[in-house]
Symmetry: C2
Subunit: 165 residues, 2 copies
Amino acid sequence: MGVEIERKFLVQNNAWRPQTTHSQPMAQGYVSSSPQHTVRVRVAGEQAYLTLKGPVYGVSRAEFEYEVPVAEARQMLGLFCQGRRLEKVRHRVVVGRHTWEIDEFSGENQGLIVAEIELSAPDEDFERPEWLGEEVSGQARYYNSQLVAHPYSGWSEGEASGEGA
Amino acid sequence: MGVEIERKFLVQNNAWRPQTTHSQPMAQGYVSSSPQHTVRVRVAGEQAYLTLKGPVYGVSRAEFEYEVPVAEARQMLGLFCQGRRLEKVRHRVVVGRHTWEIDEFSGENQGLIVAEIELSAPDEDFERPEWLGEEVSGQARYYNSQLVAHPYSGWSEGEASGEGA
């Protein structure tokens, strides 16, 4: 088991774009999700993963991830994840000692861009780049597993506090 | 993806026991289950598996199975499968060209013994040994994923038609 310690932010401008070192389209879906767990299938280019995550405690979360054949992942997305899929492009931006993962959603979540940083301890320090917006760690509506059911395009104006870029 | 074609029967006496070639204790639990899917974690001796199964069509069912480290499977059983676990011993008995898997449940399902045969086609012929009882293929209450929620010990007398051995 790994433990994922992650903080999540909105982005407030496009200044990150020229710093991108890698961009990867991803398709993912949820076989099941509850406050206690999620079972996720993800295809990222030539690789695919089946991932189980436990409940969120602050910014930490137990995670079990297994690589699976891409063809089987696509079958699982079709068989098990109807109506619970999303697509995004994950960009990588290095800032200081850390690599930010900036997820730019498409489809019903078009317009939403969030930046995540993985830390080795919840209180680990990190550099805050100028494009970094409001922190949304722990806000359930920004969980990918929630975005499939309540996509960004359906949020009311009051909710969509971070139009990001 | 594999497709599992399986028929399931009760057993009507103990004549299979001396023919057992292999017996394996198993602990398994369900991360989630619905009529459309199950996500199962199983520890069988020195091996462990994460298995996704699709809906049952007659005696067929899509199946995706991945071997995982035993230690991680035990963590997943503890984290994700509280109240949805069962234990059994799986015995193997060879009859003609086929190998029967005879599951002898313990705990709250003590007393239940079912025999399963995997076929390569739904109408494939097979030898019926003298110990074979009533067929229960497709009866949802005999699904392992149902036995965790509604164990055999709680079935009323009318329901428990096959006390097996």
